[in-house]
C-alpha cells in the first residue's frame, strides 16, 4: 500500500504574513516558513496507519520553492519513507489549475493507492486542490474529513455538511482531504530525525513531469493586491463595576443596537 501525502510550506500564521503588493506573491522574507498545520495532520494520518499496517509506504509530495526542501526533511522525521519535491521557477505563482496539473503528474509518476491532503491551506484558503486532483486522476474524493479510517482496500470517514454529518466511503485508489479536527501531528524523536537525513528525496521540474507552464489554457491571474489598513486598538477600560453600562452606552451612541 502506497500513501502519498500532499504537504505544503506556508508562511507561519502565528507571525506576520505579507504579500508583495507588486508581484502579488507571498513575501518570503517577511515570515517564517513552516509546514501547513493541517497537512502535518495529513502526514500523521498516513504514518499512524503505516505503523499498524503490514507494508505501507508513505511518500511526501510538495510543489514549492527551494526552501520547501528543509520542510520536507523535517517532515520525513515524522516517519514517512521518502519525499518528492517539485521545484521550478516556472511554477512561481502557479494558479490552482497549473498546481493540480503538476501534482497530478507527480502522483501518477510516483504511483499511489491513497492520497491524503489537507482540506484547506492556511495561505491559499482554496480547498479545491484535492478534488481537482481526484478529477485528473480519475478516482473518488472524500474531502474535509473530520475522521478517517483506512484499510488495505478502502477508506471511509465523516464530514460536516449542511445540517449534519455525512459518512462516506470509497474503494481505493482515492484522494482524501482531512481537517484540523484530525489528531495532532507527532513530534519526531531523535531516531526519526537522524534517519530522515538519509531518506530519499527526489527533486523534479515541470519539464520532468511533462507539464508546460506556459500552455494556452484558461488560467486565473492576479490583477491587483492591496493591503488593508491595519486594525488598531480603540478604547480599553478596566471594569470597576460600570463597564457593562458603559458598553451599552457606547453601542447606543454608535447606533449599533
Amino acid at each position: 500500500m502506497k500513501i502519498a501525502v500532499l504537504v505544503k510550506e506556508v508562511p507561519d500564521s502565528y507571525g506576520e504574513r505579507k504579500l508583495d503588493t507588486t508581484t502579488g506573491l507571498a513575501d518570503r522574507g517577511a515570515s517564517d516558513r513552516v509546514i501547513d498545520e493541517i497537512t502535518a495532520r495529513a502526514v500523521e494520518a498516513a504514518v499512524s496507519y503505516a505503523d499498524s499496517a503490514q507494508d505501507a509506504e508513505v511518500v511526501l509530495v510538495t510543489m514549492g520553492p527551494e526552501s520547501a526542501e528543509s520542510m520536507l526533511r523535517k517532515t520525513l522525521a515524522m516517519g514517512a519513507d521518502s519525499a518528492c519535491h517539485i521545484s521550478d521557477e516556472a511554477l512561481t505563482g502557479a494558479d490552482l489549475g497549473l498546481s493540480a496539473e503538476v501534482l497530478a503528474a507527480a502522483l501518477r509518476r510516483i504511483g499511489f493507492d491513497l492520497v491524503i491532503a489537507g482540506d484547506v491551506s492556511s495561505d491559499g484558503t482554496g480547498g479545491l486542490l484535492p478534488t481537482m486532483l481526484a478529477q485528473r486522476l480519475g478516482v473518488a474524493h472524500l474531502t474535509s474529513l473530520d475522521s478517517a479510517q483506512i484499510s488495505e482496500t478502502e477508506v471511509s470517514g465523516e464530514r460536516g455538511t449542511y445540517g449534519g454529518t455525512v459518512s462516506l466511503r470509497a474503494d481505493l485508489p482515492a484522494v482524501v482531504s482531512v481537517t484540523e479536527r484530525m489528531p495532532d501531528p507527532r513530534f519526531p524523536g531523535f531516531k526519526g530525525i537522524m534517519s530522515a537525513k538519509k531518506k530519499p528525496l527526489e527533486t523534479l521540474t515541470a519539464a520532468d513531469l511533462g507539464v508546460d507552464a506556459q500552455a494556452d489554457v484558461p488560467r486565473s491571474i492576479m490583477l491587483s493586491v492591496t493591503q488593508a489598513p491595519a486594525r488598531t486598538a480603540g478604547t480599553k477600560v478596566t471594569d470597576e463595576g460600570e463597564a457593562g453600562t458603559q458598553l451599552a452606552d457606547y453601542l447606543a451612541e454608535k447606533r449599533l443596537v
Binding site: 504579500l19 449542511y162 455525512v166 486598538a233 480599553k236
Partner: protein, 328 residues
Amino acid sequence: MAENNVVTFLPVLPNGELVGSAAGLLGAAGRLGSPVAVIVAAPGQGQAAAAAAGTFGAQRVYLAETPQTQSVLTAPALEAVAAAVGATGAEAVLVPNDVDGRDIAGRLAVRLPAAVAADAVGIARDAEGNVVHHSVYGSAYTTESAPTHGTLIVTLREGAVDERAQAAEPTVETLEVPEAGSAAAEITGFSENLQASTRPDLRSAATVVSGGRGLGSAEGFALAEQLADELGGGLGASRAAVDAGYAPNSYQVGQTGVTVSADLYIALGISGAVQHQAGMQSAKTIVAINKDPEAPIFDIADFGIVGDAFDVVPQLITRLKERAGGGS
C-alpha cells in the same frame, strides 16, 4: 443582445429547503447577468426549492430530482451543473464556498477546463470581463483576480455578498442526471444535527456574539446566547469553546471556521489567537470582554473591557433593556 447567463449551484437541506447561501449567490449572479439556478434534490423536494430560488431572483432553474443525492457524493450535482453550463453557455459559474460547493468547482474546473477563483468575497464586471475580489491572510489584504479566457468558476464566501436580485418567476427545466460513474464516494450515512435555531445565520448576521473558553462551561456559554438574543444577533464560538463542547462545530469563527461579515462583533472570553482573528477582524466594530489585559484580542478591539464577562454582560443586558424600555 446575447443573454449573459450566470449559473449558480444552490444546495438544499435534507428537508428540501434552500441553504442560506442561495440569496447571496443569486444576488452576485444578478450583478453579472441573468441568474440561472441549478438545484439537485431528493425526489419530491425540488419544486418548492425551485420556487424559493425564484424569490431570490433565479430567472431559470435547472432541476434534477434523484435519490442519488443522498447516496453518491458530488457526482449528481456535478453532472447537473455541467449540463446547465452546457445548455446555457454560461460565462460564469458561482457555487458556495462550502465543502460541497468546493467539490463541484474543483471537478468542473478540470473537466471543462476553466479558470477557478476560490473564496471570493465579491465579483464585478468591467469592460474586460469578470473580476473577482478576494480577502486574504485573514483580511490583511484584498486582491483581484480574473480568468485569462473561458468560463469562470467562482466559490463565493458565504455571507460576503449583500446584494440581492429581484424576485422572478423562473422557468423550470427538468434535468435527467446520468448514473454516477464508479469514481465517486458513496454516502453511507447521515446524522442530522437537530439544532434548529431561530437566530440569524452567523455568516451574514449584522451582529455576532461569540463565546470562548473563558466562559468556562456549556452553562457559562449560555451567557453568549443571552447576549446574542438580546441583540438579535448570530452566535459564534472560538475553536477552544467548540473543542470543549460548549458549542457545535458549525459555530466556529476563524481560519478554519466561518468568516463573519458583521457590523458588530462581540468576543466574550476569547483570547484572540491569529486563527480566530482571521475570521472576524474585518467586522466593522469589535468589542472584547476578557479578564486578561494582555489578551491579543484587545489589539484589534474598538472597545475593550478588561473584566469578567459574568459581571459585565448581565449589566450590559440590563442596561440595553432599560434603553429599549423607553428610558434614556
